[in-house]
Point group: none
Chain length 213, copies 2
DNA sequence: TTGGACACGTGATTC
DNA sequence: TGAATCACGTGTCCA
């Protein structure tokens, strides 16, 4: 971060340079203007200018160019000095907000070395892609296993369901609260996961498995 | 996004300065003053560029170069016209890059309704937080289950390990490729997950479980 | 020196 | 109208 700071060529106020650093609260309001020399500086320095219509010329010259434009401008336009001032303040405020957002964004990105705008945006983009990738990998991983509720040959009459219930607790998996026994097999690649939900009994697990294996 | 278009108000030119500078001393070389009022400034030296809407700039050549130099103030300070032109072009380029990054960022955010800068940044921040949250939940979920390798009473001598191997395939879980049998129990809340890795044999599962259950 | 980065003021434009 | 947003040109700073 460099640059910056007020400069302000035209200054209206002091300016508070905000730079990138946090904080920067708003010191505007009350801007004091640098006095335009004196005389009246009233609040906004400008007005003075405004009154004097000097249309000065646009001057300068250089030969080239001049033309154009100006004509257009005169016509409607113009903005009262107070209004111009408001415009400046509003714009400053907007910039400050944007700048804060950028800082907040930068704070979320790990291992960020430079904090200039381009780097922050660029790294934010990369980071989001990375996170998305990670989420989808993790979700894929947990979804990869299909759930199949096997038919239970003797303990339960008929709740065969080759389904669809992708995940989740047993309670909501197939809407059967009342079942005393539920067996699910999840197959993922080479692995088989059996989920058995039943009352606690001696050797129940072994006995159940004996039915299948 | 609206706004825009070139506008280009202020000319490239050197500037006019009129009026005197604000007090503050600083006389920058040429200080331009606020123009409020208008007329001031306008003209462009070089560019024209603008043809309407945004487009990428690049524009035309420099035609400009020529002009300028002049001097009002001359002497030191001042930036040569060519230099000013380069400055303008560079700044334009930088802006364009930033703008593209912002568009790219916006493209990654789902359900983005407004695309103004503040919204894009604000929503990017929210989205990153959301993704982070999701990643950490998913990871937590998969980590939550502690893995305990039970002692195998007869099939294997001693590889009790109450450990630490948090996840992953059996192969890399405890660095034992040569084991013929490995049993892991993952306990998560009320559930117990037994992972059994062994050679295929008749009723092996039942027999193994008979040792534990 | 030069180039990159920044905030500023400002005219235009959109809602 | 009026408020919000934008891109621009510009002065200034720093490596």
């Amino acid at each position: 971060m460099q640059g910056n700071t007020s400069s302000n060529p035209s200054s209206i106020t002091e300016n508070s340079s905000l730079k990138f650093s946090p904080s920067s609260s708003i010191s505007y309001f009350q801007s004091q203007i640098l006095s335009f020399d004196n005389t009246t500086t009233q609040f906004y320095g400008f007005d003075r200018t405004l009154n004097s219509p000097k249309q000065i010329s646009t001057q300068t010259t250089k030969g080239s160019s001049k033309n154009q434009n100006f004509g257009t401008k005169t016509t409607l336009g113009k903005r009262s000095a107070a209004r111009t001032y408001d415009h400046i303040i509003a714009e400053r405020k907007r910039r400050e907000k944007l700048s804060q957002s950028l800082i907040a964004l930068a704070a979320l990105i790990p291992d960020l070395k430079k904090v200039d705008k381009a780097s922050v945006l660029g790294n934010a983009i990369k980071y989001i892609k990375e996170l998305k990738e990670r989420v989808s990998n993790l979700e894929e991983e947990s979804k990869k296993t299909r759930v199949v509720v096997l038919k239970d040959p003797e303990l339960n009459g008929d709740n065969y369901d080759s389904s669809s219930c992708e995940e989740g607790s047993i309670e909501n998996s197939c809407g059967s609260e009342s079942l005393l026994l539920q067996v699910e097999a999840r197959m993922s690649g080479q692995e088989v996961l059996l989920r058995i939900h039943c009352q606690k009994k001696n050797n129940i697990l072994v006995r159940i498995l004996a039915l299948y294996v």
